[in-house]
Structures are given as structure tokens and as C-alpha cells.
Amino acid sequence: MYDMKALYEAQSVEDAIRLRIEHPEAQIIAGGSDVLVQMREGKRAGKELISIYMIDDMRGVSLDEEENLRIGSLTSFSHITRDPLIQKYCNVLGEAVDQVGSPQIRNIGTIGGNTCNGVTSADSASTLHAWEAIVELTGSKGVRRVPIKDFYIKAGTVDIAPDEIQTAILIPKTSYENTYGHYIKYGLRNAMEIATLGCSVNVRLSTDKKTIDRCRIAYGVAGPVPMRCPSAEAVANGAEPTKELAKKFSHAVIDDINPRDSWRASKAFRQHIAVEMAERALEKAVELAGGEMK
């Protein structure tokens, strides 16, 4: 038995919003692989929960009328990885969430929960930042769309109003078109591991594949929230994809990131692997885009 004060079950988004207003103290629970574990450990013991897990309308991946990729917030990691639209337009997201926990965790864990937690180590977070995802929130006053970088306020805190729930994550067409990316997770073991550092890089090459038109890079665990690296991106944008560029690009990330010492790894070690991961991920992204690193 879980030590919970009460459970309120939402059957629809409207239901969830009403319950949020009626029970301001209650914690939202999606798949529960974080909330229930924290409840078991005593951290969230004795709290009220609003379960949104049964709202099936919030599951699935689709293209909206503007051809933006729309991922329902309750879509599980394993369903994202297997989804044909994700595989076609944003394969790296499917690969990134395939590194969360274990197969069972990937069946219960949701992309909405992964982002609403506000943790920097979330495997989806760096890729969503690197692809400039938009977070869709639905509340009593309607729908609000927030860029993912503004959604993360500080460690563990995200921009959700007391009458809102996150209903979808969008990847705009301008973001995924002709774009290819790669994610590298550094952990001490393969399964059931929280990233020591996560790095997601994507590129869009010119039609002759000789120039990097747009390069975006984001990290998880390189700071209190996931972050992009503007200095490194400036180095790569408009440049020719060469091995030398990859080196320059990867060293530029040091100006952008701000990792900390923790029991998992020291700041110096994180900085060291951040450079290595940036170089490898850029090379792989260029290769996936059909380019060649000279």
C-alpha cells in the first residue's frame, strides 16, 4: 500500500484541470515511475495525488495541421521509440528515450512526466532542447505554448500554472525538416542508470552537403537545467564540416556549460567528457545528414 492521503482520478483533460483547481496541494501523477518511488521512499508520503494516467487522448504521436510533430504528454518512451513519425522526423528522440531506465520503465514512463519533473538528467531533455521543442499546457483559460527553454525555470521547477497540465510536446516543422541528430549518454552502466552527462547534437546541411546550415547542441547535467550552447553553435553555423571544426566546436562548449561536482562525477570530469561527446555527436550527426567530415 502506498502512503497516500487521497487519489483523484481524471478521465479527461477538463477533469484534470477541475481537480487541479479543487485540490491545489495535490501532486499530478502520470506514469508514476518517479512519484510513486518518491512516495515509497517517504519523500512524497501522505500526499494527495491526481492521476492523469487514464486519459488516453493524451497518448500518441501525430502531425498537426502545420505539420509540426505532436507528441501527447502521456506517450510512453517505448511507444515514442517505436513510432513511425518519430523514426522518420526525429529519430534521435526515440534513441534518447530508449536509454531511460529499463524496458519496463520505458513502458510506464511518459515524456510529459520526464519533462515536468524538471530534472536536468532526463534523457529526453537535451534532445528536446536541441530541437527547440514547444511545450503545450492546457488550463482553465485555454491552451498555452511555451518554448522548452522557458518551461524549465530551475532545478525541479517548471512553468505550469496551478490550473494547468502539460498536454503535449511539439517539435516544429522548421526544427525537424532536413535535420539529423545524435544523442550520447554517459553513464556508469547501461541499464537503470541516470546520465552523468547527456549530449544531443543535430545539424541541417546545405543541399550540396558542404556547409552546416544550422547546428544545435544541448546538454543534460551540464547545469541545474538542460541547456543549449550558443558559443559552440556559433562556431559550427555556416562552417564546413571538417574534423578540425569538430575540435573547435567541441572546445567551445566549455564557455557555455556549468557542470557541478557531485557524487556521480566531478566538474572537471564532466567538462572533459562534454568536449569529447560534442565532437563525437557532431561527427555522427553530420554523417546521418549525408555529409562527410573532412
Binding site: L7, I29, N107, A191
Partner: protein
């Protein structure tokens, strides 16, 4: 608080069932206490060891971190459902016996239900892929090699291929 109950209707191992369930219960609690399905083990109870693993609508879930109320309308399969009416074992269970993939047995039901999900895909996986697919389970006895052999054995047999260890 006053205890909160809810009537939960679902299909367990092919049978339509319903029971009043305490909303604070995990699916592990419900399956063990209400239905006496004790193959569903209480291990870590935080979703790390896989001993409580069951199939829900064909996918593997750690039932310890799954609320019992979420079982409403779902199809749940546990190890007990694999046994045929005459008491003979399924091919997966038999392979675990043959390959000595069991010692204390505590992790076995969880491993076997994940194996059922893996093999339902009817694909030929590499060793590396199988290790990843089995990585949600901890076994402190066997060292995993025999478990991997058992899974591979059934995979090859079901696909009508020669076993290649």
C-alpha cells in the same frame, strides 16, 4: 483519511474479474492479496528489480509501481497464466528448467514474463539486443548467462531455426 475503495474490473489470465480495491494498493498488492497470484514477487518495490513484472495489454510493467486502479479494463497476464490446464509447462518455462536458468527462483516469474513479451515480437534478436531487453531484471544467483541461453533457445525454436550458441 477514510479508506477509499474502488471497484476494479479487468481480465486476469483470460478471466474477467472484479474486486473492490483500496486505491492505495499497487497492482502487486492487488494481484497477490486479492487474487493470490503469488508468482508476482515483492522485491525492491521501487521498479528496479523486475521481480513483480507482469504483462499489461501485452507489455511488461513493474506492477509494484503501477496503481491497482489503473488495471481497470486492462488485460493482465502473470506467470500462473502460462501453465496449461493439464499442468504442463510452457516452452519458456521448460527452457528455463532445461538451461538451469533458475536457482532461488525469486526473479524467475518476472524474467519469464518479459521473455514472453520479447518472443511475442517473433524477431531474431542478437545477444546484445536480448541483454538490453532483459536488463530490467536483477538476478543474484545465476549470473544471467543461463537465462540468456534459455531465452535464446526458445527464440530459435519458435522461429524454426537451428540453435547457435
Amino acid at each position: 483519511m477514510s479508506v477509499q475503495y474502488k471497484l476494479i474490473h479487468c481480465n486476469i489470465n483470460g478471466k474477467e474479474v472484479e474486486k473492490m480495491v483500496d486505491v492505495r494498493a499497487s497492482l502487486t498488492d492487488m494481484l497477490r492479496n486479492e487474487y493470490r497470484l503469488t508468482s508476482v514477487k515483492k522485491g525492491c518495490e521501487v521498479g528496479e528489480c523486475g521481480a513483480c513484472n507482469v504483462l499489461i495489454n501485452g507489455e511488461a510493467f513493474n506492477s509494484c509501481i503501477y496503481l491497482a486502479v489503473w488495471a481497470e479494463g486492462k488485460k493482465i497476464e502473470t506467470l500462473e497464466g502460462l501453465l496449461s490446464p493439464d499442468g504442463s509447462l510452457s516452452d519458456v518455462q521448460q527452457a528455463f528448467v532445461e538451461e538451469s536458468a533458475i536457482q532461488c527462483g525469486f526473479c524467475t516469474p518476472g524474467f519469464i514474463m518479459t521473455t514472453v513479451e520479447i518472443l511475442n515480437a517473433k524477431k531474431l534478436y542478437t545477444d546484445e539486443e536480448l541483454r538490453k531487453l532483459l536488463s530490467g531484471h536483477l538476478c543474484r544467483c545465476t549470473g544471467y548467462e543461463n537465462i540468456l541461453r534459455a531465452v535464446k533457445k526458445v527464440m530459435y525454436r519458435r522461429l524454426g531455426k537451428e540453435i547457435d550458441f
